[in-house]
Each structure stands twice: as structure tokens, then as C-alpha cells.
Amino acid sequence: MKNHKTIILSNQEIAPGYYRMRILAPEYQQLATPGQFVMFRVQHTFLPLLRRPFGIFRVGFMPADCDAMPEKEFIEIIYKVVGSGTEIMQELHQGDRIELLGPLGRGFETGDPAEEKILVGGGIGLVPLYMLAEKLVQTSKVRLLMGGRTRDDIITVTEFERLGVETYVSTEDGSLGEQGLVTSVLEQKLAAQPKAAVFACGPMPMIDAVQKICAGYSTSLQVSLEALMACGVGACLGCVVKGAGHSDAEPRYLCSCKQGPVFRAEQLDWSRLEQQDSVCGGCD
């Protein structure tokens, strides 16, 4: 957990509106665990004011090269351009100086190696699952169910395949893989193998459907949630979600940035979580 003043190593569009950014990030190889995130400061001015949270896609290093450059530890993030901050991010170049706070939050628990692992990713929700897959493939069978609206939303799937992950792609418009929702694929898989462990990240309606399906099969589930965040470190209490047993009289809020962003399904109050869908797009 550090605030690095660091630089961008590369920043490339990998699908329409999706960018992959590599950032010099000392110590992350040692510190970061799957499911954690960073708070990225987009500009040195006050517009946009707040840092943006992004899952860590991958941690790596570039070997020392012939220019006598030293070995470089880096992280990669993958982001979708949706608003004021990401619009500026897409214009950033190699060598631009930025600030990076992280690694933050609690990531995924890997659980029993004997269990089959099913990763469910919706669009950009795929991001935090890659590092997890890297770890899980060492001990377990891993499948990835990846869904998106169109084929443009299906990113980096081949990289999962290279890890030895069995991948299933579905798109709502049928432009890639099966036509339909990723949750119907999950339904099929669990019908065949309910003893799997499921890890999901994606839009709230998807997460919600995944939870209902897993609950039906009593399958263990961990989800990574997106909440609005100001600080990322547990100080502002802006990012809370309602925990299991929450009521107005006895509120049980959990901090997404510190106690999450990954939660075991049992930790959460699913009857109220739909409201989380109101992740607001910011005012500007």
C-alpha cells in the first residue's frame, strides 16, 4: 500500500473503447494479490478531482534490456472509456507521469484446490479475474464464462486460454460465441457440476443473476463489486455496501474499498444489493 509517483510504459487501444495501460509499479509483484485494485490519479490538476479505481489485470516485469535499462516491475490495467476521467486517460502517452495508490482492498480467496473453479466475467468485469486465473490454474481446473453485449466487449480471452483456462464466450447479439447471457452458460455448467467454486465480476444485474443461480445450487460464490469511491482506503465511507443482516435499525455496512471489493456471497445483503446498481456516473 503505497502512493507511487510513477510513469506510464504503454497505453494501447485493444478493442473499440477498451484500453490496456502498462504502468511502472515497483513492489507490486510482491504485494498485489488477485482481485485487488489501484486508485489512479488522472491529472495533476483538480479536474477530474477524485482518483479512479481500476482492478489490477496483471503484474509483471520487463527484463533488463540492451539499453542497459534496469529490470522494470509493472502492472497492467484494462479500462473502458466511459466518462471524464477515462476520456483523459485514453490520451495519455508512454512516459507521462501519473500517481498510483495501491494495491488496495481484499482480493479473492482461492479455496479448496480440489474444487473446479468457474470464473464469470461480464465485459470489463473480466479484468480482476486474470491474476486469479494465473493462480488457480496451478492447482485446479479453471473455466471462464465470458459475456458481453457484442464481440467488441469480449477482451483478452485468448490470454486466459494460454493459461490453460477453458473459455466459453457468449454475446447478447450473437456476434461472438453463443448468443445469450453469460448466466445461461453458468446455469448449464452448474447443473452438470454444482460442486464448483464461482468467482464473478461484471455489471450488477449479472452479479445478481449469478448469485441467484449459485444460491440455487448451494455453490460457493465470491463477487467483486464496483462502488463509487473517493479515498480507496476506508476513510470516507462513501463506498459502503449493505452486509448480511442489514436493517435500518441495525445497519451493517461493509466498506467496498477495504473489506472488499471481493466479498463472499454470504457476507452481503442481496435483497438490497440491487440498489448498488445506482453506481452513479459522476456529475461531469
Binding site: 483538480f46 478531482l49 463509487l228 479515498c231 482506503v233 465511507l237 462513501g238 456529475c283 461531469d284
Partner: protein, 313 residues
Amino acid sequence: MAEQTEVVSKRPQMAVEIAGIKLKNPVMPASGTFGYGEEYAPYLDLNQLGAIVTKGLSLKPKAGNNTPRICETVSGMLNAIGLQNVGIDAFIADKMPFLQQIDAPVIVNFFGNTQEEYAEVAARLDDLPGVAGLEMNISCPNVKQGGIVFGTEARAAQDVVSLVRKRTDKPLIVKLSPNVTDIRVLARAVEDAGADAISLINTLTGMAVDVKTRKPRLANTIGGLSGPAIRPVAVRLVHQVVQAVKLPVIGIGGIARAIDALEFLIVGATAVQVGTANFVDPNAMQTVIDGLEEFCQNEGIADINELIGSLKQ
């Protein structure tokens, strides 16, 4: 030349005193933006701060508002956290032990929904070791008086501060709301009621709308605006209060850099609080402290107290 070198190399005196609390330097966090200190310990040496100010505390734990609770605006943010906090028992048990180890005075921000609640929290904090002072947030609706905000009505403010004053001997800082017609009336009321210092500003009331869904961006509809956007309003209010009362004043509102803090010191604030900027840069307060020292050095100011209230007209 010899003389100039001497001035430059000598480190300026940075300590200030407010209501009997001695601060290494005039910079501390604003309540609610720094948790209970420990959240920022990995990023900042807490011992370097002028003081630590904790998240608003109430007698009982408080749930806070529904989400969304925050929303970014142009160079600012809205929040409607709803004063979620652990309550005084958990604060004493879980948070104070950490704070007591820090070599910086701890100022506990607190509030209540009734006069009695205010008085009760103050009394509980009065004999708590390691608490250097109390900051009383009077920007809360008074549930007994039909929701009028204590801090917007001079009579209500004076009554609640008087009551609290009777229950604590600790230095009492009263934090004012900016959402009033004449801040001087409020400042004089809390001075008369026995406050030892005044801090301001709390957030400006604001609102934002998601034009797609046509819903307010905050579940609570209305929230508090903070950050660099509000600084000119804060500087003006601090300027007015400094001229209206004899009490020392702590300036708050949109401070992110040393030059921002300097505006407040020059108009007469004895110390400053950094709020929203902590979210933008967890190291913001250190940057402000270093920048103030550098400014004094460059301008040949031996003691930062010389700057306070040095506005020229």
C-alpha cells in the same frame, strides 16, 4: 550575501497554538476525510501533523445514509455519508489505543441530534486520556426543534454550546456551517457561549442530478460540497469571522496546496484543516506542511505566526 544565506538556511518556526493546544505546525486533517488516522498511516507519517482530527462521533453508533453517498462535481465533490460512525464505546475501545500512540494532539469531532446528546458525548470525552481537544460539529439538524440545524440559528447554537461548555474542560472548538446569511452572528453566539476556538467551513449544501435517470445523484438528494471549488467561499467566511470575534480560528475548505493554506493564514486563521484533498493525494498534508516551510524560508519569515492575519488592504 552572508546575511541572506543565513536567513535561507535557518528553518522557520512552524509551531502554533490554538485554544491551548500546541501544534508542531498549523496543518491537520478535516473531520470525516481522514478516518481515525490509521487508514492513512501507510502513506503519511502521522507524527508530522499539527494534529489529528477524527471522524464525527456520536453517542450511539450511527448507520449513515443509503448509497450512493458521494458524487464528483467540477473540482469538488458532494457527500451525504450521513455521519456514519462507530459510536463512543467502540471509539474508545477500538480507535483510541492507536491514536494514543501518535505524537500529535488528537482532536475528536463530535455531534448529537439533541442538546443532551451533544452534552453527553462531550462529558464522556472530557476525561478520556489522549484527547487534546474537542471539535463540535453544529451542522446537524436538531431533532427536537423540528429539524432546524443547530448551526444556522444563533440562539440554538448558543444554547447547545453553552450546555456542552458546562460538561467539558477540554479545549472546545466549534465548527460552523457556511450555509447562513451572516456567519458573524453565529461566530459571536458561540464565542459568547464559551467556545475556545472556531473552525470553518463545513460543506456547502449542494445537489446534483443524473440527467439520464432523472434521479438525484445522492440517495439523500442533498449533500455537502467540498474540495477546491469552494475555497473562495471559505476564505471569505474565515476572513469575516476573524474580524468578528477574538477567538482563534481554524480555516477549512478546498485546501490542497501550501498556497491554499496560506490564503487562510494570511486572512487570520491560526491553523488549517485539509479535507477532500486527502482523497486526491494521501500525502497532501505533508505537501502542504513542506510548502509552508519553504514559503516562509523563501520570504524570510522566521516564525509562521508572523503570517497569521497579515492581510494588507
